[in-house]
Amino acid sequence: MAITIDAEEADRLELSLQLFQKLYQHPDCQGWGGFGLVVQAYSKRALPVLLWLAALAKQQGDLIPIRLVKGAYWDSEIKLCQQKGLDGYPVYTRKESTDVSYLACARFLLSSHIKGLIWPQFASHNAHTVATIMTEAQHDQFEFQRLHGMGDALYDRVLEQAGVAVRIYAPVGNHKDLLPYLVRRLLENGANSSFVHRLVDARCPVSDLTEHPWLTLSKRNPLNNPHIPLPHDIYGQQRRNSRGPNIDIHCEWAPFSAKVNEWLEHQWLGGPIINGKRVESDKIVEVKAPYDHRHHTGQVHFANAELVAQAVQVAHDGFADWHSTPVGIRTQALMRLGDLLEDNLAELTALCHQEAGKTIQDSIDEVREAVDFCRYYALRANELFSAPLKRTLADGNSHAMIRDGRGVFVCISPWNFPLAIFLGQVTAALAAGNTVVAKPAEQTSLIACRAVELMLEAGVPASAIQLLPGRGADVGAPLTADPRIAGVAFTGSTETARLINRTLAARDCAPVPLIAETGGQNAMIIDSTSLPEQVVQDAVQSAFASAGQRCSALRVLCVQKDIADRVIDLLKGAMAELKTGNPCLHSTDVGPVIDQTAQQNLLQYIKQMQNSNRLLAQTELHAEADQGTFVPPTAFEIDSIERLGREQFGPIMHLVRYDAHDLDKLIDQINRCGYGLTLGIHTRNEGTAAHIESRARVGNTYINRNQVGATVGVQPFGGQGLSGTGPKAGGPHYLLRFTQLQPIASTFDKVEG
């Protein structure tokens, strides 16, 4: 019996070729001639792959059966590339291009010099494709393949007229495994471009069906599909999507990795930046890599009360210039900053590894999000500030009003998104015409320092941005107590937000905006119609990516009882496959938590939970884990969502079972937690998804996907209740809260506050 390895996503092509080569060249396979591979014609790499396989066969002398298909993951390939900001697509964007590619591959496979190396297997239900292959073939060393129940009439003719072998295949498995396959088939056949669909469409003339795809394609101008923009252009002309390399493709990964490696031993130096100059203090902190404390990342000077006072004064004095700078000039600097961040991706990735313990993809995503913030807020500011607004005021007259900055904004950012959230807050405040005093999390001060250096290089004036790394008590407290502060943007814990609110309120001046993004106790609800394999993939990604250190991370997976055992089995399997380790390595899925305090608190919680709850699974830590601050990804089953206390900010997932008829009670329990940040829903029932979404008091709901990785301008991010005040970061209303409206010819003593 022959075995054929199926084809998967384009990102796994190189991996599957390596695997194929290893198995094919194994002594047990030599002399067999029945070990084959599927090749997808929609892939732009299809022909090179066939050449490579032919060379492999020639080297060993064993026939390789190649099943040539058109490809089944086209939609996902397009989406993934857009999400990752890649340079292009690995697949053709027109169906007729794929059809031409299929025929080109077929011509190659049928050519005389390939005979005896590759056994072509043509899997198509397209009569034109079949007819073309039969016409082109000069020998009979190949076969056709058709799905049981499809193309019977077509292949009866093939057998009758040509006597070419036709293999009939059928999926084998139980109902739950086959249903997704069946749905995909139905959708493919239902697409307007499908031959099967067009065949039964009475309005489709026979001449169209029989037209050679090359002829069809040659009529297209342009050859690519203009309705599918390149990943960089998905937001239209005005805003470029941030770029990222594809780390699963060797030709992109190798040069990127080499550049990152150049920075891995670098020692960074950071400290307060006041009026454009980095200053030193007597409080110097050594920075160590969270994944291995033997590695020194650099040094940072922490600010003190005296430097806080200096920074506020500079920012206060700088406001007059900055807010009167035309918005277009302000936002040009932010646009340049976005480009500079992309230019410095390798260094920033290395710094994210070494200071924040971020994995490779997390580090790239971090920089990309920062880039998106720069461009999005710049664009929004241009829209908001360019033209005056007409408004009827209480006097009954229409007044022209303009937006303006409020003064000095304090931006207090967390360590879990040390570049993206840091720059998100700062660029929003600056775009709106405020000057900024930024206080980054003390654990990730070096990243903030590097970001401010790039801001200055991009043209943000020295008096507009001040940086004060340091401890909360030494820097945050005196900053927020200063009466000159006109607003605070904060991301961090609910408790710290409350403290800041009290400090601001204690001042003898009018209340100012406090934009707080705080924690979550985020749930994912899955019902019995969901696809368990997809659920587990998304749940594991949501709970354990970034070692669970995301505000949006999944904390409690709510599973309908009917499928709970199946989901738990899959979850155990998936967690056994997770790899903790050095985040600079491609093989690492889960990096360290940020520091020893976080690690000890999480380990203590796990220990406490083990006493009274069922441990479902725990990922084994790698050999050198004790050199850093690692916490094993862990899942517990609990009997009620109400058992959850405060948020555990790490790789810990809880699972509860619920009865289908108690769905509303479950939603009530989630709402009663008081937090309201993210919610995941997995169901194939649209009505159920809509019902849960409308009832849940959360900021961001994600349906049939993971619940992390909100994209700027696409999924504005922020919660309600204990999870934050709003407005949502990366959304159309965010900048407004950083502004005030002024009548152009002011007759009022005070404006909107």
Binding site: A72, D75, S76, I78, K79, R94, K95, P180, Y181, V183, R184, L186, L187, G190, A191, N192, S193, S194, N225, R391, T392, L393, A394, A497, R498, A505, D508, C509, P511, L531, Q534, N671, G674, R684, V698, G699, N700, Y702, I703, R705, T711, V714, Q715, P716, F717, G718, Q720, L722, T725, G726, P727, K728, G731, H733, L736, L741, F748, D749, E752, G753
Partner: protein, 233 residues
């Protein structure tokens, strides 16, 4: 006459139903009440400002479709924050209290209303709103609960009032002492020009935003996307 009490206001399921009605339906309902407002000195001003607020509130119900990757739908929409306390002070006017209350309700919040010394007038106002169709459980007139107790209301998300600047500072301090949610204070302190009430940003302070993301390529593929790839032009 029977008014709702603060306990009724905290019934989450009723608030959900009110919130789900949508901005346009609530504004339509509240607009009918404008013709039956109790008499007061600046009734014409009240009606003009209230109509402007309701006009501003209607478009807030539109769901905003956001650009994103092919194969995913992303939407942003607004809802009420929850329970709001609408307070009048010795410096408030009927115009300000009425407009702030209407704005709060239009944005999908439940409201507890208190204005010491003006209970009789408020009773008429509340009755006009009930008559217009505001559910009784969405609007409670409170006449005797101490302010401190009201500020401790379970699920309180918002305090809307008109007052002097020093009162705003003092109330903000009291709210900051609260242990739960950061309660939003929306205070009009320029009682002559009402710049906050007439600002286009005012209503955004009374709502919260929700984002809804649907992976439309899930479970077997996306026919729309396949079709997009096969367009002939």
């Amino acid at each position: 006459m029977q008014h709702s009490n603060t306990q009724d206001i905290q019934a989450a399921s009723i608030w959900e139903a009110w919130n789900r009605r949508g901005f346009a339906a609530r504004c339509q309902l509240l607009a009918t009440a404008l013709e039956h407002l109790p008499a007061h000195a600046e009734a014409a001003l009240t009606e003009r400002l209230a109509r402007q607020l309701l006009d501003d509130a209607r478009p807030l119900g539109e769901t905003l479709e956001l650009p994103g990757p092919t194969g995913e739908s992303n939407e942003l929409y607004l809802t009420g924050r929850g329970v709001a306390l609408v307070l009048g002070t010795e410096d408030s006017s009927e115009t300000l209290v009425t407009c702030q209350l209407l704005a709060t309700l239009a944005c999908g919040n439940a409201a507890v209303l208190q204005w010491p010394g003006h209970e009789q007038w408020l009773t008429l106002l509340v009755e006009a709103l009930y008559q217009a169709g505001v559910p009784r459980a969405m609007l409670a007139l409170d006449t005797g609960t101490p302010e401190g107790q009201l500020l401790g209301l379970n699920d309180l998300r918002l305090v809307v009032l008109s007052c002097r600047p020093e009162q705003e500072i003092a109330l903000n301090r009291r709210l900051a002492e609260h242990e739960g949610v950061l309660i939003q204070l929306v205070a009009e302190t320029d009682l002559q020009h009402c710049p906050l009430l007439t600002s286009p940003d005012f209503l955004l302070r009374l709502v919260t935003e929700k984002t809804r993301t649907i992976n439309t390529t899930a479970v077997g593929g996306n026919a729309t996307l396949l079709e997009l790839g096969s367009r002939t032009v």
